[in-house]
């Protein structure tokens, strides 16, 4: 299940194993049969660490979802609540437990209650439990520090949805603290990172916290040979443009259209109806969306996920031919030995064929969208903005889309993009867009517009100086004639636009940020370099031609397209660096803007 985590240069299985060990220890602390009551939000991230089988090994017999009212019946010795430290959840727990106290004598013996807070305990929550009169009912109250979750062999995420909003809108740096803590955990397992680079206010804070935490634990130096050569901390707000653009890689498009959560995508079932599982007797077309796991454990997916979507057709054809040829081999198997060998390959070939069928279906679904007029028109406007065309006028496509009452988030992505590419909109134009939006979608969205202004996404022009064209030119952000089939530059992920964040990463490795001092000054926040002392004898001796390993941490979110771009850099010949990617959250333009919306619940 986790083999793919050791695929990369850094074996992230170690991290996962450490997390599993902690979980096991806690479960064993609550000796005897147990039932877990889950905060629904946690089941996804936990699924990446441990499956039910591990829990079963530690006597977990039942699992329930946390909800109000009475606890469901369960003949177990222990009831453990796995929850985030949120006050409203404490009230539900109290409800679950108090009900018990009031009930008449039960059939089974009294149970022990425990709580596991994820990722941290909270005084406020324990206080709330006390107020509800149930704090004393718990035997074990612990915290399970799940900061960085490995999603793939080169990808870690904290899945902290609110991080961008908290840092850049509410000036709340709690998530940065967790980030620093997560990085300390990482260093405990993979060795001290000798060099820290960063750009942005939040990056600076995280680096400071790391250095301070290191000093506080000065006594306990890890004796592990460092795996990472350097850490690069990047604020999301040095590159607000990239997440707004529609991603054009295969995985990026799946995320844009269907959303990928905890490594799973939910897809419309109709296309997959033909593939019935064994045992399903005469079922009609399934109405449940098909849940598909997407990670590099699936060979075909690993090959195509980061390709530009226009290259997928050819890749799938090629694969189909290879698989067909492999199946044809059966005609060549003459001897018993050869037949035996062929048969032993069958499961693998069947898996490959099923994988091909799935991805062909997905690609067809996505193609329906990318070939639509709406998609094309939208992309055209995006690219106009990115190349600086008419960013200072009211855009008719946006106007028309508002008039047709297209989804609000689509509109917001476009107007924000125009604003970012123009370094703010002229007051008249901003007012016009705002009025059209509020009149068409409702005045309650005023709060969202305020939030977007505060984070710099949709703001009035304060000075006539627009640095974006200079940045674009110096860093070569727009590459005409990007080769989508056989890319030679990271700009293929957006069919011409090179993500600013990744360009900065690329330049840092070679030739270094000194060469772009002027441009760096145009981007918000300080840039810096720190060195951390390594214990004697632990300095890495790199072999001739051996690549450096850099951990890039995006504070505020990263897109799959950016991940693809970094993977591209990693596999570039004589690129010199391989990248491991970490982030507070995997995002796309839609989920990102959504996190900034202040929307009253629909009545």
């Amino acid at each position: 299940m986790s083999a793919h985590l050791s695929n990369g240069r850094v074996n992230l299985n170690i991290l996962r194993e450490a997390a599993r060990k902690e979980l096991r220890e806690f479960l064993d602390k609550c000796a005897g049969s147990k039932a877990i009551v889950w905060d629904e939000y946690l089941t996804g991230p936990f699924g990446l660490i441990a499956q039910y089988s591990l829990l079963k090994e530690h006597e977990v017999e039942k699992m329930f979802t946390l909800k109000g009212g009475r606890l469901p019946a369960a003949d177990v010795k222990n009831i453990i609540f796995f929850v985030r430290p949120r006050l409203e959840l404490m009230d539900i727990i109290a409800e679950n437990i108090s009900e018990k106290n009031g009930r008449p004598p039960q059939m089974h013996s009294p149970r022990d209650f425990h709580i596991l807070f994820v990722p941290r305990r909270s005084m406020l929550c324990e206080q709330r439990l006390k107020e509800q009169g149930v704090l004393g009912s718990f035997i074990n109250i612990d915290e399970y520090i799940l900061d960085l979750i490995p999603y793939d062999g080169d990808l870690l995420s904290m899945e902290s949805e609110g991080a961008f909003r908290e840092c850049y809108l509410e000036s709340d740096q709690t998530s940065l603290y967790h980030t620093a803590k997560g990085l300390m955990t990482l260093q405990a397992l993979y060795g001290t990172i000798p060099q820290i680079f960063g750009k942005g206010e939040c990056a600076r804070h995280v680096a400071n916290m790391m250095l301070r935490m290191k000093r506080e634990f000065a006594g306990s130096q890890t004796q592990i040979l460092p795996v990472f050569d350097s850490l690069l901390l990047l604020d999301r707000n040095i590159d607000l443009l990239t997440p707004l653009a529609t991603q054009l890689t295969y995985e990026g498009l799946i995320d844009e259209v269907y959303g990928i959560t905890n490594g799973y995508a939910k897809l419309p079932p109709e296309k997959f109806a033909a593939q019935k599982k064994q045992g399903e007797v005469g079922k009609d077309l399934p109405t449940e969306p098909k849940k598909m796991q997407l990670n590099s454990a699936e060979e075909l997916y690993a090959e195509i996920r980061d390709k530009n979507f226009n290259a997928i057709g050819a890749a799938l054809s090629k694969k189909a031919k290879i698989i067909s040829a492999a199946f044809e081999e059966r005609h060549n198997a003459k001897t018993v030995g050869e037949i035996k060998q062929f048969v032993s390959q069958l499961p693998h070939m069947q898996a490959a064929r099923s994988s091909l069928a799935n991805h062909t279906s997905i690609a067809e679904l996505i193609k329906d969208i990318t070939t639509s007029e709406a998609f094309f028109d939208n992309l055209t406007v995006e690219q106009e903005f990115m190349t600086g065309v008419d960013t200072d006028k009211v855009n008719t496509y946006i106007e028309d889309s508002i008039a047709q009452k297209d989804p609000l988030i689509k509109i917001l992505r476009l107007v924000c993009m125009q604003s970012v590419c123009n370094n703010g909109l002229k007051q008249k134009i901003l007012d016009y867009y705002k009025r059209e939006i509020l009149q068409t979608y409702g005045y309650e969205h005023m709060l969202t517009l305020n939030n977007l202004e505060k984070t710099g996404l949709l703001k009035p022009q304060t000075s006539t100086r627009n640095n974006y064209p200079t940045i674009r030119k110096t860093l070569k952000l727009w590459m005409e004639d990007a080769n989508e089939q056989n890319p030679n530059d990271i700009s293929y992920v957006y069919s011409g636009y090179a993500p600013l964040s990744i360009r900065l990463t690329q330049v840092l490795a070679r030739p270094g940020w000194r060469s772009i001092e002027e441009v760096l000054k145009m981007l918000p926040g300080p840039h810096f370099e720190e060195r951390q002392q390594l214990p004697a004898g632990l300095h890495k001796k790199r072999q001739q031609g051996e690549n450096r390993t850099t951990l890039v941490f995006f504070l505020g979110g990263v897109t799959y397209a950016e991940v693809a771009a970094l993977r591209f850099l990693s596999q570039m010949e004589d690129g010199g660096t391989e990248y491991i990617i970490a982030t507070t959250k995997l995002i796309n333009g839609t989920s990102w803007i959504k996190s900034l919306m202040d929307r009253p619940e629909a009545p």
């Binding site: 009149q439 005045y443 009253p600 009545p603």
Partner: protein, 401 residues
């Protein structure tokens, strides 16, 4: 609190550490000062620390007042009595009011007394002793108290709290409560732009409530045909302004601008742009297949009295909207004809089979070739076919000297 032994021995009741006793000390001081300069009462300043009020000698009058102060403090005054005492500058204690119900009674009494200082003093206590969600929930229905609260928050620089509360309470379910809440929000420290939006939001909801009540009644009584033919699928409450305008153009078209429900009134009140107004009206009238109304939207009389069609948006857009509403070809044709760009005109005409437009355009362009091609596309013997034939033969005649 070290209670002087001699007082105890003489039977004076112990003086508690009074939370509100700063006022008590000051009251005593003022009483003492009234007497005369020769004080034997040690004046103690109040720093909040438990300090005894020591009587250095027996001043009976001061003693009596101290006893009374104490009694006053521990007595159970009703909200009404408490408020009176506050107005009269007498000692009081708000901590007595523990339950939410009691606190609200106190607040309502304070409001009834119309004394701003008293109201604010009560609000300060409520702010301290209630969660901000509960406090705000109660304040949004108490206009006067809310006004004072806003003022107080502004004074102490906590305006942000107001904006948070605005956000948290936008989803009040009951529309009347929401309307009242919005009205009260008008005095929040919004930026001028935002203030305009909140004003519009309030005005809109206020009018929607009126329109909804009226239309519901009319619909159920079966008086108006339009509701019978096109029964309303949803309430107009909480819909955005453009949606409201569409509704108005659908059900209340042609009403004078004196009524809240008329398109003209809505357009004026909410400063809707010509473009938006036109598009919305067009959508509604096209849905109802009211082609004459659609025509009227675009027709303007010039100074010579001739009518001419104008549009702030391209006619190709108009054509699309009409087509989506299944406008008959005769109607579509007129508008396709008005498309300025020739290529676009031809393409639209072909898409929607407006034969006359195509034929006339090619004729005006003198493009025989295309006419011949198009003749092959139309039905043999149809009027379009005959028309093309006629044009072709006419032009042949003319090309001969």
């Amino acid at each position: 609190l070290p209670y002087p032994k001699y007082l105890q021995e003489e039977g004076w009741p112990p003086l508690m550490y009074l939370k509100e006793s700063k006022r008590a000390v000051n009251s005593i001081r003022s009483l003492v000062e009234e007497e005369d300069e020769e004080d034997d009462v040690e004046k103690v300043s109040w720093s909040g620390e438990p300090v005894g009020i020591y009587l250095l000698d027996c001043r009976w009058s001061v003693h009596d007042d101290v006893i009374l102060l104490w009694q006053d403090y521990v007595s159970d005054w009703t909200p009404e009595e408490t408020v009176k005492r506050m107005q009269q500058g007498k000692v009081y204690s708000l901590e007595k009011f523990r339950s939410l119900q009691d606190k609200l009674l106190l607040l309502d009494e304070a409001v009834n007394a119309h004394d701003g200082n008293v109201i604010t003093a009560v609000l300060i206590y409520l702010k301290k002793s209630l969660s901000k969600e509960i406090l705000f929930r109660e304040l949004i229905t108490r206009e006067i108290a809310l006004r004072h609260y806003i003022h107080y928050l502004k004074e102490i620089g906590e305006q942000k709290l107001l904006l948070m509360q605005y956000r948290d309470h936008l989803n009040v379910r009951d529309e009347n409560k929401r309307r009242d809440f919005l009205k009260n929000c008008l005095s929040f420290p919004f930026s001028p732009d935002d203030a305009t939006h909140v004003q519009d939001h309030y005005t809109l909801l206020e009018r929607q409530i009126i329109i909804e009540a009226n239309d519901k009644q009319v619909e159920s009584s079966g008086q108006a045909d339009i509701f019978k033919k096109y029964p309303r699928k949803a309430s107009i409450l909480n819909m955005p302004i453009i949606t409201t305008l569409y509704y108005s153009c659908f059900y209340h078209y042609g009403e004078s601008d004196g009524t809240f429900s008329s398109p003209a009134n809505i357009r004026k009140t909410f400063r809707i742009s010509d473009k938006q107004f036109l598009l919305t009206c067009l959508g509604a009238r096209a849905k109802l297949k009211a082609w004459f109304d659609v025509d009227a939207l675009f027709t303007t009389k010039n100074w010579l009295g001739y009518t001419k069609k104008r549009s702030p948006i391209g006619f190709h857009r108009i054509v699309d909207i009409l087509q989506k509403n299944n406008a008959p070809v005769q109607v579509l044709q007129d508008y396709v004809n008005l498309v300025e760009d020739v290529e676009q005109k031809i393409s639209l005409a072909q898409k929607y089979k407006c034969h006359d437009v195509i034929i006339n355009t090619y004729r005006d362009l003198k493009d025989r070739q295309q006419l011949i091609v198009y003749r092959g596309k139309v039905e043999k013997g149809s009027s379009e076919y005959r028309k093309i034939e006629e044009i072709l033969s006419n032009s042949v005649r003319r090309s001969f000297p």
